[in-house]
């Protein structure tokens, strides 16, 4: 755990993931409770009422929540494989966020502040996970000669 907090990109990614869980959790809650999300952009209800707000029987908000939980889980998987898992999940979330933002702007014609917030969080998470994966590892200690 102390190693996690000493590692800056991982710390940033963990905090961002918790923010993402908060946003997606809230949207999932209002979806299942049939409530209107608190909205300052005026487009949340239209986005929520859109057919794009569900994929099959699964609300997009719940998919997001599952995605963020998987990211959180992967942050605790040690080694390069764990970092690659985080990278894969955040890349998926980032690419899907681009698609959802496109739908908001050009198809549904409404902007939901929560969706934009989640898209921003996912973009930052993708950057943080790429840094974690790509930054040069410490040089290996020379083997005794």
């Amino acid at each position: 755990m102390s190693r996690l907090w000493a590692d800056r990109p991982t710390t940033v990614a963990t905090i961002l993931t918790l923010v993402g869980i908060g946003i997606a959790g809230y949207l999932t809650y209002v979806h299942y409770e049939g409530l209107s999300p608190v909205c300052t952009t005026g487009g949340c209800e239209r986005v929520q009422a859109s057919s794009y707000s569900e994929i099959g029987p699964i609300p997009v908000a719940l998919l997001g929540l599952i995605g963020y939980v998987l990211i959180l889980f992967s942050l605790f998987v040690p080694g390069e494989l764990g970092r690659a898992m985080t990278f894969m999940f955040t890349l998926t979330g980032f690419a899907f966020s681009i698609y959802l933002t496109y739908l908001e702007l050009f198809v549904i014609d409404a902007i939901c502040q929560w969706c934009v917030g989640s898209a921003v969080v996912m973009t930052l998470l993708f950057i943080a996970s790429a840094v974690r994966l790509l930054r040069p590892a410490a040089p290996a200690r020379p083997a005794p000669g």
Binding site: E45, Y52, E80, A84, M85, M88, T92
Partner: protein, 254 residues
């Protein structure tokens, strides 16, 4: 002797450097392999999600809905059922809203069969237009069909043929085909849709929604006919949840 030891040291350092370089090269290769795998997997998942999302977002088929459901039930404008029924349920809907379609396909028929046909419940349909321009066209035509007392058949058919919102699927051919399937005169619907009476109906529905604090669709009010109506809160669009609320209201009314 000293030069021999120095050359051994240099050789060892060169070997170590080569080993380190080789290890770093292998690490880089492994990292890029992982990145490649991650990108491929992410691409597969995203493409699958987009394909499912697009195919889910509506169909422009030629379903006719269940217009026979309303046979023999009195209709007047946006009202369905016996005007003297003890209970009234008001629905706020947008004809482009997929959840309104879901309610109309899965719950409405049961409620009509059980409560409207028996004379216990009358229904009113208030159409909102918040999803976009196509909602406005649909609502105007639906209210226009109400002039022929066929609004419920019209909306049922429009839901059955619901397309992707704001995709422009609501063109004149769409409106005419829905009118025909609903049993309404398409020309009369088109004429009436542009009337001031219809735009007043749409404004009235929006005002009623605002007054009742309605912010999403479908939303429902229920209460004694001619009396104060209250919000009918349902957690899921399931018949049983509506039945519980209606049964409770009916027992209160008796």
């Amino acid at each position: 002797m000293s030069s021999r030891s120095e050359s051994k040291k240099a050789a060892r350092e060169a070997r170590l450097a080569a080993e380190q370089e080789e290890a770093a090269k292998q690490r880089r290769q492994r990292t890029w392999s992982l990145i490649g795998g991650a990108v491929l997997l992410a691409a597969i998942i995203v493409v699958a999600l987009i394909v499912i999302s697009s195919s889910d977002s509506g169909d422009d088929g030629s379903d006719s809905g269940d217009v026979a459901l309303f046979d023999g039930i009195p209709q007047s404008g946006n009202a369905l059922g016996d005007p003297d029924a003890p209970l009234t349920m008001v629905e706020f809907a947008d004809l482009q809203c997929p959840f309104c379609k879901e309610y109309t396909a899965n719950v409405l028929p049961d409620l009509v069969e059980k409560y409207v046909k028996s004379g216990d419940l009358r229904m009113e349909l208030n159409l909102l237009t918040f999803i976009g321009p196509d909602s406005q066209t649909l609502a105007a035509s639906a209210y226009a069909a109400g002039d022929q007392d066929l609004m419920w058949q019209w909306t049922d058919t429009a839901y059955a043929r619901q397309g992707t919102e704001n995709s422009g699927y609501v063109d004149s051919d769409f409106i005419d085909s829905v009118s025909e399937a609903a049993g309404a005169d398409p020309e009369q619907v088109n004429q009436e849709a542009g009337s001031s009476a219809v735009s007043q109906e749409i404004t009235k529905a929006a005002d009623a929604a605002q007054q009742a604090g309605i912010s999403s669709t479908p939303s429902f009010l229920i209460g004694p006919t001619g009396g104060d109506l209250t919000n009918l809160d349902v957690q899921q669009l399931e018949t049983s949840q509506f039945e519980d609320a209606i049964d409770q209201q009916l027992s209160d009314a008796k």
